[in-house]
């Protein structure tokens, strides 16, 4: 495939600059050609669809119409942000499934001289493109500094694997795409049970306590599994877990300190970029300690934090575990 149309979404230019910069760097190294959709607008995020359907879909569909017009060779729109990905997919799906909705939206688009035939572009998440088009082999080939010793919790959030309109994900409850990608970078990937749970989304604005509880669950689980870092694919998830970590700590009298980074940042690091070029330093809960650890992979873990680390035994004794085809040896 010659290239993809990129729908960056608003966050990439504001809270998720680290995602934006690391993606640009990584795409370069992998030869992933991303052409930004000209004159794109906000997808409406999570709220607008709940308020007024037609304007909300029109807002989304404007981007699809622009993409379809710009499509030249590639008809695939890549969205790095999960909310954008879900919104674009939804519009693509429901404009076809509910023809009246499609008509009304196109009436609105006509005011701007645009038209969109649902289904004329494909919407894919960045992770899907990296795994299925670029492929783990190419990713592995690029790795010059394996992230050995870094325990990472792969966190997809709730909007990527469901409802999966184009049937692209391995599983809706426990997909393993991000796990496999991070493993290819040489990281030690934990089997994160909450990988598709909600981060609270915009509940931080509406009902902070609800959001704090959801944030706490994720931090607590990552801590329980002794993760050095949480790797996300979504600006919303990153923002909530990172920026509201101290608020959640205050609320629950906890003291979690778990850096939350974008998976492309870890790719950048593994591909040999220095931390700054990979977008590190922008996170509020600093990833520096964890980075130091892999910067000196041969060095014994410092006492204190490292020494208390208890790894689960590799081979459990007693009754054999059910065998899992293709996933042997995963802890």
């Amino acid at each position: 495939m010659s290239g993809y149309l990129l729908y960056p979404g608003c966050s990439m230019e504001t809270s998720a600059v680290a995602y934006h910069d690391s993606l640009a760097a990584v795409a370069d190294l992998l030869g992933l050609e991303l052409r930004e959709i000209d004159d794109w607008n906000c997808c409406g995020a999570t709220e607008y669809l709940g308020i007024n359907l037609i304007p909300a879909y029109a807002l989304i569909a404007r981007n699809l119409a622009l993409a379809a017009r710009q499509a030249n060779g590639s008809r695939t729109v890549v969205a790095p942000c999960s909310a954008c990905y879900l919104n674009l997919s939804k519009a693509n799906h429901y404009m076809r499934e509910r023809p009246i909705l499609g008509e009304r939206v196109n009436e609105a688009l006509a005011a701007g001289g645009l038209h969109y035939d649902p289904g004329s572009v494909h919407i894919r998440h960045l992770l899907d493109v990296l795994i299925n088009d670029i492929g783990l082999e190419r990713v592995r080939d690029r790795v010059s500094r394996p992230l050995a010793g870094l325990r990472v919790a792969p966190y997809l959030g709730c909007m990527v694997p469901r409802p999966d309109y184009e049937k692209r994900w391995s599983d809706h409850e426990h997909p393993d795409e991000l796990d496999r990608l991070l493993e290819a970078l040489g990281a030690e990937v934990i089997d994160f049970p909450l990988k598709t749970h909600c981060c609270g989304g915009h509940m931080t604005q509406i009902s902070p306590e609800t959001a704090y509880e959801l944030i706490r669950r994720l931090l607590q689980a990552a801590d329980q599994y002794q993760a050095d870092m949480i790797a996300t694919v979504c600006p919303m998830c990153q923002l909530n877990l990172d920026a509201y970590q101290s608020a959640a700590n205050q609320h629950f009298h906890t003291d979690y300190s778990i850096p939350v980074v974008f998976f492309t940042q870890l790719m950048g690091l593994a591909f040999g970029l220095d931390a700054e070029a990979a977008g590190f330093g922008r996170e509020l809960v600093s990833a520096r300690d964890a980075l130091d650890r892999i910067g000196l992979p041969r060095q014994a873990p410092e006492e204190g934090e490292g020494a208390t680390r208890q790894r689960r035994p590799r081979k459990p004794e007693g009754l054999p575990m059910p065998t899992v085809p293709g996933r042997e040896g995963k802890g």
Binding site: D171, E173, H174, D191, P193, L194, R217, Q220, A221, Q224, P316, E317, G318, L319, P320, M321, P322, T323, V324, R327
Partner: protein, 684 residues
């Protein structure tokens, strides 16, 4: 009395036979959607020039009175052909053919027009349905005018029976037939008969020991004079037809000379290679590379698992051979193919357990203390890997709390829509066994409790009284993530308690997943091999789901047990016995009447091109070299029509399905025939 004669085009009749048309109301089944009175008048008037001399409608044509009506008309109106517009021929063709025979008309001069299954049941618009019924009747009238009187064929039934599958259904069927004095071949692909039932410790609701009730049957099957046991064998090919099947069985090499082996077990003791037993132990324990699956295995002879045996993999070891006291190990053994002549076949091939890994949110395969139902059956079995002790995956810790999740892979549109029928009772049994053997608190997470058979609900009451806790709701997920100190190091079940109307988190030490029963992974292939049908999800299809649950649409092939759908042991045994009764009926009749629907070659048209020769699925076609012609053996021919369609010269014709008959029927269906005056060709 052949009244139909062909002209050059093959569709003109010199003499149009006298036809009676009988429209059935089938209560309101047909009359509710189709205007039956109108059909009768129409047939009488508009089909008169097509030979119809009388038409009637009646509430239930299949009743004795309805049949008498037809018989009376045959005599009074001197009918030469009869069309009954009613249900599918599968149901009542025999009824009306018999009625015609009794009135002196050859049964094959009677046609059924299916205006119930093909019309009234599948349409709602009365006008359109009535129009369609007209077309179906007109087609039958055109066709029946060209039917010829035929005589049924009789074939002898071979008294031997093949039973495929050595679980409790197959064992029951084999014993019933063998006890009646007829020979049975019992084929099983595993090393021993016994099936899933041999894995269980207790059976619900009576809690009888499964082995105590099963092993005597296994021994009887193994020692019965009339039963030839073929374990470690698979059916490869089925030729022939009802009464006379020729079945090719592949006997996999055991690498054990059964004439010398005493079943002492020393080979298993000495074998250095341990592998996880995925079949009998459901992955919960190890076996050796040479093994008998369990101590009561029938036959007692072990097999060498060549895929794991060190000698086969690396070329050395042969420890078993060195230690075998009777020299029974034979690494040179090769697989063998034998052909069995049988008259009937019973398929009792059972089920596979749904793979609970597919419900990823329940963590099977990832979380150590999540067990599948078959793993748990093995764990509770006193001869199992833990000697019946209920312990965690570490092999020693007793759980303080156990959660049993129902409907894993059943009643779930992501996996299987159906109810697996046994899981509620099995889960209750598990709860009872945990209570009996440990001090643990037990939760059952269910969607609906289904306990419909004899003494089942009483067992549910008993388990309730024993203190098992029931939560109604589908479990969302099982994780190891602790939110509260008491959850640390345990499995947390997140569930909506739909009776209390709230979300609950319940921490347990062990989770048991009551997984669905699924069709065997290769059931579609097996169905194809035996020429029967299976549903899209893979269960074998019965001839009739209520009235003929052990027969198939293929004469002489019967089905029993879980191969047709999830079943408990009593239902499985009943089906095994029922299938045996059907087989015995055939055997005792001595011969079976076959429809004389056969293909035959019109010699003067056959060019000897041989295109048809390799197409016949029944091997009925031979080429006669001296005459450069193809011949069809009417006993082997099943009338499938493949050769007829393939013949470029149109030299093969099917009795009862001649081109003439079929084209005339199509003319009728298109109502083209109606507008053509009598004795004129309908098509050019």
């Amino acid at each position: 009395m052949t009244s139909a004669q062909e002209d050059g085009n093959g569709r003109r009749l010199d003499h149009r036979p006298r036809i009676g048309v009988y429209v059935c109301h089938c209560g309101s089944n047909i009359a509710g959607t189709v205007d039956v009175a109108e059909l009768r008048t129409w047939a009488e008037q508009r089909l008169r020039h097509r030979g119809v001399v009388v038409a009637r409608d009646y509430k239930f044509m299949c009743s004795s009175l309805g049949q008498e009506l037809i018989a009376k008309d045959i005599k009074e109106h001197r009918l030469e052909r009869v069309v009954v517009a009613a249900c599918s021929p599968h149901l009542h063709e025999m009824t009306f053919r018999k009625a015609c025979t009794q009135a002196g008309l050859n049964p094959f001069l009677c046609e059924l027009a299916s205006i119930r299954e093909h019309v009234s049941w599948v349409h709602t618009d009365r006008t359109a349905a009535t129009d369609k019924a007209r077309a179906v009747i007109a087609g039958a009238v055109e066709r029946v005018a060209r039917n010829e009187p035929l005589e049924p064929m009789h074939v002898p039934v071979h008294p031997a029976t093949l039973v495929v599958g050595g679980g409790i259904a197959g064992i029951q069927a084999a014993l019933e037939i063998a006890d009646a004095g007829y020979p049975v071949y019992l084929v099983e692909r595993d090393p021993s008969i016994g099936g899933h039932m041999a894995q269980f410790d207790k059976t619900f609701p009576t809690l009888d020991c499964a082995a105590c009730i099963l092993t005597p049957r296994m021994v009887s099957a193994g020692t019965h004079d009339n039963i030839t046991l073929l374990t470690w064998s698979e059916v490869e090919k089925v030729d022939g037809y009802v009464g006379n099947f020729a079945v090719t069985v592949r006997k996999k090499p055991r690498y054990i000379d059964t004439a010398l082996c005493t079943g002492c077990g020393i080979c298993q003791e000495k074998c250095p290679k341990k592998v996880i037993d995925e079949v009998y132990e459901s992955g919960l324990a190890y076996r050796k590379a040479v093994y008998t699956p369990f101590p009561q295995a029938v036959p007692k002879y072990p097999v060498i698992d060549a895929r794991n045996c060190t000698y086969f993999l690396k070329g050395k070891c042969r420890a078993c051979e060195k230690f075998c006291p009777t020299g029974a190990i034979d690494f040179e053994q090769a697989e063998e193919r034998i052909t069995l002549e049988v008259g009937s076949i019973i398929l009792a091939t059972g089920y596979d357990l749904f793979d609970p890994r597919r419900v990823t949110q329940y963590g099977f395969g990832r979380l150590a203390n999540v067990f599948s139902s078959l793993e748990f059956e093995r764990m509770t079995n006193s001869a199992g890997p833990t000697n019946g002790e209920i312990v965690l995956r570490d092999g020693k810790t007793r759980p303080e709390t156990v959660g049993i999740i129902h409907c894993v892979g059943s009643r779930d549109r992501n996996f299987n829509n159906y109810c697996s029928a046994i899981c509620c009772m099995q889960s209750l049994k598990f709860a009872h066994l945990v209570k009996e053997r440990t001090e643990a608190t037990v939760y059952n997470f269910y969607i609906d409790m289904r306990t419909p058979a004899k003494a089942y609900d009483e067992f549910y009451q008993r388990v309730l009284e024993e203190g098992t806790l029931f939560v109604r709701g589908k479990v969302a997920e099982v994780t190891e993530t602790a939110r509260l100190p008491r959850e640390t190091g345990r499995l947390v079940i997140q569930v909506e308690d739909t009776l209390a109307g709230k979300q609950r988190r319940i921490a347990v030490d062990m989770v048991v997943l009551s997984a669905a029963l699924e069709p065997r992974h290769d059931s579609a292939d097996v169905a194809k091999r035996f020429g029967i049908s299976c549903s899209h999800d893979g269960w074998f299809i019965e001839k009739h789901p209520k009235l003929d649950p052990v027969s198939t649409m293929t004469e002489g092939i019967f089905i029993a047990g879980c191969a047709t759908g999830p079943k408990d042991i009593p239902a499985t045994v009943a089906q095994g016995a029922a299938a045996a009764a059907r087989v015995l009926g055939h055997i005792q009749q001595g011969q079976i009447e076959l429809e004389p629907i056969r293909a035959s070659v019109i010699e003067e048209r056959c060019s000897g091109c041989r295109i048809c020769n390799d197409l016949c699925p029944f091997g009925a076609i031979t080429f006669v070299d001296e005459r450069m012609l193809t011949e069809i053996n009417p006993v082997l021919c099943q009338g499938c029509g493949t050769c007829i369609a393939a013949c470029p010269a149109g030299a093969i014709t099917g009795t009862g399905y001649s081109n003439d008959q079929i084209l005339a029927q199509i003319d009728g269906l298109l109502l083209r025939a109606l507008d053509v005056p009598d004795s004129e060709p309908t098509l050019v």
